[in-house]
C-alpha cells in the first residue's frame, strides 16, 4: 500500500467534465473498461468518443459514491471510537474498579488501560477523521484502532470468550467501507495482539493462564473465515455500487440528450413559428380566418391596417371592418357568401369587391378562400387595385382604338357624300344668285310691258304668279338659305376631319405633330360637352412640332375639357350663369404646355391629393368612372414623360397644366439610359 496522494480528495460533480480526476487511493481494483450494453438513444455530438466519455463519467460517479460512503463511515467511526472509549472506562470501573495492595486501595490498572491506552489509540484516527475524512490512511487507522479496542475490551473483561465477538462485530463494521483491504489490516492487528498477549499475558486473551497450544489457531481460523465471507460481501457490494454508478451515468446522459433534444426542438419550433409569422405578417397579402358558426373573425394579419388605412387595434372591431366594404358591393358580397354557405357555389372561387378605407381610398380586393372541416374560412386578401387599373387602362386603350377605327371608317364613308352635298349646295347657291338676277331683270320687262299695255294678259299672269310665290321673299331669303347650307356643310366637314385626326388609330410610333391643331380638333369633338354651359376662349401660342402619340394626347386633353365642363356645370347649376373655359398654349426651350382653366368650384382641400387616383370620383354614381384624370395623368406622365399639375382656388375654378417634352421619345431614351 503506497500513499502518494496526500491532498484532500475532492468530490467531483460536474457531469460534463471529462478530464481525468484524481481518485482517492481506496485501493480498489484497477478499473476495467466496461463497454455499455445499451445503445445511446440519441447522441447530439461527438459520437465516437461517447463511450469513453460515458465510462469516465461512470468512474467519476463511482468515485463520488465511494468517497461519500467512506466519509460517512469515517464519521460513524468517530462516534464509535469515542463511544467505545467511554464504554470501556465505565465497564472497567464496574467490573474491576479498584486494586487492593499493601499501600491501600488504588484504581484498578484495567481502568487505566481503558482510559489511558484508549485515549492513545483514539488520538491518531480521531485527528485523521476530522482532518482527512475519506482518505485511505484514515480508514486503515480506524481499522487498527478498532481492532485494538477489541483487545482492550477482551483484556478488561478478563479474556472472556464472549468478548471476542467484538472482533467479529468490528470486522463487520469495517466491511461497511466496502474496501476489502482494511480487513487484512484489521486481521493483522488481531493476530499480532493474540500472538503477543498469548505468549506474554495469556489471561488477558483467553481467560486462562495456560491455554491449549491450538487455541490461537482456532481463533485465527474463525477470523479468517469471517474475513473471507466479508471480502466476498465487500466485492459484491462494490460491483453493485459500480453498476449503480453506471446506471446513474446512463441516466445523466439520457437526461442530457433529452434536454438537448428538447432545446433543439424548442429552438426549431421558435424559428419555424417566427418564419411563418414573418411570412404571414410581412407580405402584402392579408391572411385572415373567419368562424362561420360564430360569424366572427378569429384572426386577421396586422398588415391589414395598411390596407384599411386604420390602426392595428381597430382590426379587432368586426363592425368596423364590415363598414369598410364599398356600399355598392355590400349586397352582392353578402349574397355571394350566403350562396357559398348554402353550397350553391364553391368556396374556392376568388371573391372580388371594393373597400373604402378610412382615408377614403378605394381599394380593389381579391380574396382567395378555403373552408376547413370545422367550418372556418381561411382566406388571403390581395390588394389588386393596381391590376384593376391596368386592366381598365387596357380596356380603355382598346376601346379608344376601336372607337378610333370606327370613327376613321365613318369619316371616310361620310367624306364622299359630304363632297357632293357641298358641291351641290355651292352650285345651287350660285345658281339661285344667278336666277334671282335673271328674275329681277325679267321683272323689269314685265313692268315695262304693263306700262305699255296694262291689260297684257301674259304680263298680268307673270305678276300674279310672282305674288302667289312671294317672289320678293324668295329673292331676299334664297341666297341666305344657300349660305346657311354651305356653312352647315363646312361645319360637318370640319367635324369629320377632326374626328379622323382625333381618333388617329394608327399611332404605333410617336410622330411630330402640330399640338395647336390637335388641340383645335379635340375642342371641336368636345364642343357638345361645354357648348350649353360655357364659352370657350382659345389663345394659341407659337409651338414647334411636338413628338408624341397624338391620339393619346387628344384623349388626355378631352378628359380634362370634360372634367372642366362638369366642374362648371356643378358650380353654375344654381346661378344658371354661363361659365368660361380658357385654353392657352405656350412653349419653352424643350417643352410645350397646354393650360385649361375653368370657372368651376375648385377642388376641395381634402381631395387634392387624390384627384389623379384611379377610380376616385366626386361625381354622382353613374356620372363618372373616376378614370378621366387618372388616364390623363397616365398618358402625359407615364407615356410621354411630361407633367400634369393643377392650381385650384375654392370658388374660382381650377387650371390644369399639361406639359409635354418636345421630343418625348428622346426623353424616354434618356431616362432609360440614366436608369
Amino acid at each position: 500500500m503506497s500513499g502518494q496522494t496526500l491532498s484532500q480528495p475532492k468530490l467531483v460533480r460536474s457531469p460534463t467534465q471529462s478530464v481525468p480526476i484524481k481518485l482517492p487511493r481506496d485501493g480498489s481494483k484497477p478499473q476495467r473498461v466496461i463497454t455499455h450494453r445499451y445503445q445511446t438513444p440519441h447522441v447530439p455530438t461527438n459520437n465516437d468518443t461517447q463511450t469513453s466519455v460515458g465510462d469516465t463519467r461512470r468512474e467519476q460517479i463511482l468515485a463520488d459514491m465511494a468517497l461519500r460512503l467512506r466519509r460517512s463511515t469515517d464519521r460513524m467511526f468517530l462516534w464509535l471510537l469515542l463511544g467505545q472509549w467511554l464504554f470501556a472506562v465505565v465497564l472497567a470501573m464496574i467490573i474491576t474498579p479498584f486494586d487492593y495492595t499493601a499501600t491501600g486501595r488504588h484504581l484498578h490498572f484495567h481502568v487505566w488501560i481503558a482510559f489511558g491506552f484508549g485515549a492513545v489509540i483514539n488520538v491518531f484516527p480521531t485527528i485523521l477523521i476530522l482532518t482527512r475524512p475519506g482518505w485511505w490512511l484514515t480508514r486503515h487507522a480506524n481499522a487498527v484502532s478498532q481492532m485494538l479496542w477489541s483487545g482492550v475490551l477482551i483484556a478488561i473483561t478478563g479474556g472472556r470468550v464472549e468478548t471476542h465477538f467484538h472482533i467479529f462485530a468490528s470486522l463487520g463494521v469495517l466491511a461497511l467501507y466496502r474496501d476489502w483491504k482494511v480487513l487484512p489490516t484489521a486481521t493483522g492487528v488481531v493476530v499480532v495482539d493474540h500472538l503477543l498477549r498469548g505468549v506474554l499475558w495469556p489471561d488477558s486473551v483467553y481467560g486462562v493462564g495456560n491455554p491449549e497450544w491450538w487455541v490461537f489457531f482456532e481463533h485465527v481460523a474463525w477470523i479468517l473465515v469471517m474475513d473471507v465471507v466479508l471480502i466476498v460481501a465487500v466485492i459484491r457490494g462494490s460491483s453493485e455500487m459500480k453498476r449503480a454508478a453506471g446506471r446513474e451515468a446512463r441516466l445523466e446522459r439520457i437526461n442530457a440528450t433529452i434536454e438537448a433534444t428538447i432545446g433543439q426542438r424548442t429552438t426549431e419550433l421558435k424559428e419555424s413559428t417566427s418564419r411563418y409569422r414573418d411570412l404571414v405578417e410581412n407580405t402584402a397579402a392579408v391572411a385572415f380566418e373567419y368562424d362561420v358558426a360564430r360569424e366572427a373573425i378569429v384572426y386577421i394579419a396586422p398588415q391589414a391596417a395598411r390596407l384599411f388605412d386604420c390602426g392595428v387595434e381597430q382590426l379587432a372591431n368586426q363592425r368596423f371592418l364590415e363598414s369598410m366594404i364599398h356600399p355598392d358591393d355590400r349586397v352582392s358580397l353578402f349574397g355571394e357568401l350566403i350562396a357559398r354557405g348554402a353550397k350553391e357555389r364553391p368556396w374556392s372561387d376568388p371573391l372580388d369587391f371594393r373597400i373604402v378605407t378610412l382615408a377614403q381610398r378605394i381599394v380593389h380586393v381579391r380574396v382567395f378562400l378555403s373552408v376547413t372541416s370545422d367550418q372556418r374560412v381561411r382566406a388571403i386578401a390581395l390588394d389588386v387595385t393596381r391590376q384593376r387599373q391596368l386592366e381598365t387602362d387596357l380596356q380603355h386603350a382598346q376601346k379608344l382604338e376601336s372607337v378610333g377605327r370606327l370613327a376613321a371608317g365613318v369619316a371616310h364613308e361620310i367624306n364622299t357624300p359630304i363632297q357632293f352635298i357641298g358641291d351641290s349646295v355651292v352650285f345651287m347657291a350660285s345658281a339661285i344668285t344667278d336666277v334671282v338676277d335673271v328674275l329681277e331683270k325679267q321683272g323689269e320687262v314685265v313692268k315695262r310691258a304693263l306700262a305699255l299695255n296694262p291689260d297684257d294678259a301674259l304680263a298680268n299672269a307673270a305678276v300674279a304668279a310672282a305674288n302667289a310665290a312671294d317672289l320678293e321673299y324668295i329673292v331676299a331669303e334664297a341666297p341666305k338659305a344657300g349660305e346657311r347650307a354651305r356653312d352647315g356643310v363646312d361645319r360637318v366637314s370640319t367635324i369629320v376631319r377632326s374626328m379622323k385626326v382625333f381618333a388617329h388609330p394608327d399611332s404605333a410610333e410617336m410622330e411630330p405633330v402640330d399640338l395647336n391643331h390637335a388641340l383645335t380638333t379635340t375642342l371641336t369633338i368636345a364642343r357638345n360637352e361645354y357648348r350649353y354651359i360655357a364659352d370657350l376662349d382659345v389663345n394659341l401660342g407659337e409651338l414647334p412640332p411636338v413628338t408624341c402619340f397624338v391620339g393619346e394626347v387628344n384623349q388626355a386633353i378631352l378628359n380634362i375639357i370634360v372634367n372642366a365642363s362638369h366642374a362648371i356645370a356643378d358650380a353654375h347649376q344654381v346661378s344658371g350663369n354661363r361659365g368660361k373655359i380658357t385654353v392657352t398654349t405656350t412653349a419653352g426651350d424643350d417643352w410645350a404646355e397646354i393650360s385649361i382653366r375653368d370657372t368651376g368650384g375648385g377642388i376641395p382641400d381634402h381631395v387634392r391629393d387624390r384627384v389623379f387616383d384611379p377610380f376616385f370620383t366626386t361625381k354622382d354614381v353613374g356620372k363618372g368612372t373616376g378614370q378621366g384624370l387618372s388616364i390623363a395623368r397616365s398618358i402625359i406622365v407615364d407615356r410621354h414623360h411630361g407633367s400634369l399639375r393643377f392650381e385650384t382656388e375654392r370658388g374660382n375654378g381650377t387650371t390644369f397644366f399639361l406639359r409635354l417634352p418636345l421630343d418625348a421619345s428622346a426623353r424616354a431614351r434618356m431616362q432609360q439610359e440614366a436608369a
Binding site: H412, N415, T416, I418, F420, D423, K500
Partner: protein, 115 residues
Amino acid sequence: MKRILFVDDDPTLLAGLQNVLHKDRRRWEMTFALGGAEAIDKLAASNFDCVVTDLRMPIVDGAAVLDVVRSKHPETRCVVLSGSDSESVAGAVDGILVKPCSAATLRMTLDKLLR
C-alpha cells in the same frame, strides 16, 4: 381649251362636281368617267391635260388609272381626290386633295396646274 378627266365610282359625286364647275365650262372641257375602267377607255380615246381621280374604287382603282396616265400620257397632270388622308399614293402626283374639298380649293388647284 384645257381638257380635264374626272374619275370616281360615285355618279352623284361626279354630278356634284359637274354642277359646281359648270361656271368653268367656257375655259375647261370636262369629261366625267364612272370608275377606273371607263377612265382608261376615255384615256385611250383622247388626250387630257389633267386627270382628277379617286383612289379607292372597285375593280379598277385609282392607282391603275394613274399607272396608265404615267405610262401613256406622261405630259398629263395627275391630281388625287381621296376620301382618306392616310391612304398612301404610289408614285409622284401633282396634287392631293382630301374629301370633302371645297369647290374653291379644287378650282384653285386646277388653275395652278393648267396655267
